[in-house]
């Protein structure tokens, strides 16, 4: 088979991280090539470089055997490379046909030849089996159909190499099946497809070969027919050094928090949490493992009261808090460390001291005579917390935005943990945090657990989950795919389930094989 695309030693650095570390990739003409890895593995970055949205710091790109410079999307489009983004680039108020031709319109003088445009769209629809109504407004069609419009956009511009970035992230299972059929049609017409995903199941069903990336490096390339889920999962997740925290076994008491049949929609109206049940007991850590995007964010925000619950109920200490406001939940003992500290957890333009009272700012001792802020109490509180949580620099009057990520997170943690909550919800608590602070935060979480707090830990970092949890649940596609005691969980098993594998299919075989390059 001809090699249609070759990426050689692509390297891309961002401040603080090497997103792509000398990655080499070759793609054969007419094949469906899957690019897999966890969040942060560098797959999107690599494809963005190929499409001209980023420029690589080092490395070369060869298209159809010739070396090419791709510095903007136009270059990629001219080379017949098309990209379908994870977040669709569609104008909602315009029709399908208008979106497809935008920028490369079929003209009639200054006019848009709309009739021809519709004809083109219909022709491409037929040829590639992508059913969609050219006259429909984007705002009125389903997500699956919108994706087809994105694909048509690329095909309209003559794409022979199609890059699909996480195409199944927003699709229903039926729409995923449709997509797989579409990809087969495209392949039959000679199109080469590269699709980025973290869902192993789809890789196995749809691709010819698969390349695995991990933390910016290429782990290996396999022929899909010759590999399997466990092998791919291991390549993706890898064996990293586990930061195990010293801890005594848990002594859980009665249930503090329960969720019943919880369903949550995101802002666009898609169902992200699909009827799950959970229970967390006092004195235990329930870790929810899962790749980001499987509904964890919506779950956590709904528990904190920041997103509405579509269906189901939430209980805290026996009380129904489904309709309670965030303030009421706080008062009832809910502490929340949000995953996006800069957006949710902190007011960057406020001082550290002011951030440390956010949420309790309206209560004594931080308030005197009902409405005046008690500066001295706020200051004292800040000084104590800055010291006990080792927040650096130890200046309560510094603005939060001048602190490093790890220290900012410590501010949030300090604030939520010292309120002696009954339930602590921690979402991605050590994301973007340096190693020293990670260790510290982990210790604090265990300390809370030992004090009898019920801890709900949501994390995409497997080692964190394995290290801290007493019980583990895996969230996949908005549902709890599996739940088990921590001692029954291994990295491979969890990785397997996190990527869509069914728990009962997991086998403990160990493959000592060398990674083949094909």
């Amino acid at each position: 088979m001809n090699q249609i695309l070759e990426l050689k030693n692509i390297t891309k650095r961002f401040p603080g991280v090497v997103a792509n570390d000398r990655i080499s990739l070759d793609v054969a003409e007419g094949e469906i090539h899957a690019l897999v890895g966890e969040n942060g593995s560098g797959k999107s970055t690599l494809m963005n470089i190929l499409y001209g949205l980023y420029e690589g710091d080092e490395g070369e790109i060869y298209v159809r055997g010739e070396k090419r410079e791709i510095s903007e999307p136009r270059d990629a489009i001219n080379l017949r490379i098309g990209m379908v983004f994870q977040h669709f680039m569609l104008v909602e108020t315009l029709t399908v046909a208008e979106n497809v031709i935008l920028g490369s319109e079929i003209r009639q003088g200054v006019r848009v030849n709309y009739r021809r445009a519709v004809q083109e769209v219909e022709r491409l629809s037929q040829e590639y089996g992508l059913r969609v109504d050219p006259h429909a407004k984007i705002a009125d069609i389903s997500v699956g159909q919108q994706q087809r419009v994105e694909i048509l956009k690329a095909l309209y511009r003559g794409a022979e190499i199609l890059i699909l970035d996480e195409p199944t992230a927003v699709l229903t299972p039926q729409e995923v099946e449709e997509l797989v059929r579409v990809m087969a049609n495209l392949k039959a017409q000679g199109t080469t497809i590269i699709f980025i995903t973290h869902k192993i199941k789809e890789v196995l069903v749809a691709s010819d070969r698969v390349t695995v990336l991990r933390r910016g490096k290429k782990v290996g390339t396999k022929v899909t027919a010759k590999t399997n889920e466990p092998e791919l999962a291991e390549m993706m997740v890898g064996r990293s050094v586990l930061l195990r925290v010293e801890k005594t076994p848990a002594e859980p008491q009665s249930a503090v928090f329960a969720a019943e049949n919880l369903a949550v929609e995101d802002e666009r109206g898609s169902l992200r949490v699909k009827g799950i049940g959970l229970e967390v007991r006092a004195g235990e850590v329930l870790g929810i493992a899962g790749v980001e995007g499987n509904g964890q964010s919506q779950l956590v925000e709904a528990i904190a009261g920041l997103m509405p619950v579509k269906q189901g109920r939430l209980f805290l200490n026996g009380q129904d808090i489904t309709r309670a406001t965030p303030l009421q939940r706080k008062r009832k003992g809910l502490g929340y460390v949000p995953e996006d500290r800069q957006r949710r957890g902190l007011i960057l333009e406020y001082t550290v001291a002011d951030n440390l009272v956010l949420g309790l700012h309206g209560e004594p001792p931080f308030v005197r005579y009902r409405f005046l802020r008690h500066d001295r109490a706020i200051q004292r509180n800040a000084e104590e917390l800055v010291e006990s949580y080792d927040i650096r620099p130890p200046q309560p009057n510094y603005l939060a935005q001048s602190l490093s990520g790890g220290n900012q997170q410590k501010v949030v943690v300090a604030r939520e943990f010292t309120r002696t909550p009954k339930l602590l919800v921690c979402a991605q608590p050590t994301r973007g945090v340096d190693v020293g602070a990670i260790e510290f935060i982990h210790q604090q979480i265990i300390a809370q657990r030992d004090r009898g707090v019920a801890v709900l830990l949501v994390s995409a970092e497997l080692d964190e989950i394995l290290s801290l949890s007493d019980r583990i649940a895996v969230m996949y596609n908005g549902e709890i795919a599996a739940a088990m005691e921590a001692r029954d969980a291994t990295e491979k098993k969890l990785g397997f389930i996190m990527l869509g594998g069914r728990p009962e299919d997991f086998r403990e075989e160990r493959e000592e094989g060398v990674l083949d390059e094909v």
Binding site: P73, I77, F85, M89, V91, E92, T93, G103, V112
Partner: protein, 309 residues
């Protein structure tokens, strides 16, 4: 009953309505192009004023009101481009910049008025754009004079409405403009130059608003007066919103508001306080925005600066 009808819809009132609506039509078209591209333009008032002044100034020097129109178009575009640069390049807040332009125009026009003509309030008279009489149309009873006997610029305004509609919804440029105002990133990824489109749209916006001002000083009247726009720029904004960012809708709203304006003079004769009629355009706009007349949704990216990653 017929008396009320005759009173409310007499030829004089309707003819006056069209005249009152004309500057609003120009300015609301201007606002439309700007906002469709994603730039809030509350500087319409100031740009209209500048247009009115420069039309008068050029006409008084050259003697020809048509050249005056050109002057209005050019200065209007220039003012709008100041707004454009400050907002697009320097990411200034659109509302703040627009307010600054309004204040600037207010001061600049009188400043120059005093400097050039040595008067404080009103300029000397200048040549006017004439009215025309369309032979067959003007002879129709009752609405004849309304439609057939107006200033040339009235007909220009109406023509521009349909041209604008065509440009916005039927041409390539219009399609790209709308995409830039709704989802600039999407437009960017298919090769549309967001910045060029926005600058162009704003220049066009200024030209149109300038024409609206020119109508006031060299068509409707034949002189420039301090603050002669008297808030029309804001009514034009209201007409644009009420017309849901559609040229024909904006014209309809402008006619409606123009009618309210014409009517209030009439109502005064009958003892109804004119002020309540004058309030009407503004109340209606608030009602429209609150969603009581269907959703009045602006272009999605309106007011947000665009940065290329």
């Amino acid at each position: 009953m017929m008396d009320v009808f005759a009173f409310l819809f007499s030829t004089t009132v309707l003819a006056a309505a069209v005249r009152m609506a004309t500057p609003l039509i120009f300015a609301s078209l201007g606002g439309l192009f700007s906002e469709r591209a994603g730039i809030i333009n509350i500087a319409l008032e100031g740009i209209m004023l500048t247009g009115a002044f420069s039309a008068m100034l050029v006409t008084s020097f050259v003697g020809n009101p048509w050249v005056g129109l050109v002057g209005a178009v050019i200065t209007g575009a220039m003012m709008a481009l100041i707004h454009a640069v400050v907002c697009i390049r320097y990411h200034a807040n659109h509302v703040v910049s627009g307010t600054a332009i309004n204040i600037f125009a207010g001061g600049l026009t009188v400043f120059l008025l005093r400097l050039v003509f040595n008067v404080a309030g009103t300029s000397p008279a200048v040549a006017r754009i004439p009215a025309v009489r369309l032979p067959l149309v003007a002879d129709i009873p009752w609405i004849g004079p309304v439609l057939g006997q107006q200033n040339i610029m009235v007909y220009v305004a109406v023509a521009l409405v349909f041209v604008s509609w065509f440009v916005l919804f039927k041409t390539v440029w219009g399609l790209r403009l709308r995409s830039v105002g709704e989802h600039p990133k999407a437009a960017d990824t298919v090769g549309v130059n967001v910045f060029v489109m926005r600058y162009t749209a704003l220049a066009l916006s200024g030209a149109l608003a300038g024409l609206g001002g020119a109508y006031l000083s060299i068509a409707h009247l034949s002189r420039f007066g301090d603050q002669m726009t008297a808030g029309r720029g804001f009514i034009a904004l209201a007409a644009m919103i009420f017309g849901k960012w559609n040229p024909i809708g904006a014209m309809g709203a402008a006619l409606f508001f123009g009618y309210a304006d014409a009517l209030q003079m009439r109502l005064q004769e009958v003892g109804i306080p004119s002020q309540f009629v004058s309030m009407l355009p503004y109340v209606l706009t608030m009602v429209a925005l609150a969603g009581f007349i269907g959703r009045a949704t602006p272009p999605k990216a309106l007011g947000k600066p665009y940065t290329k990653e």
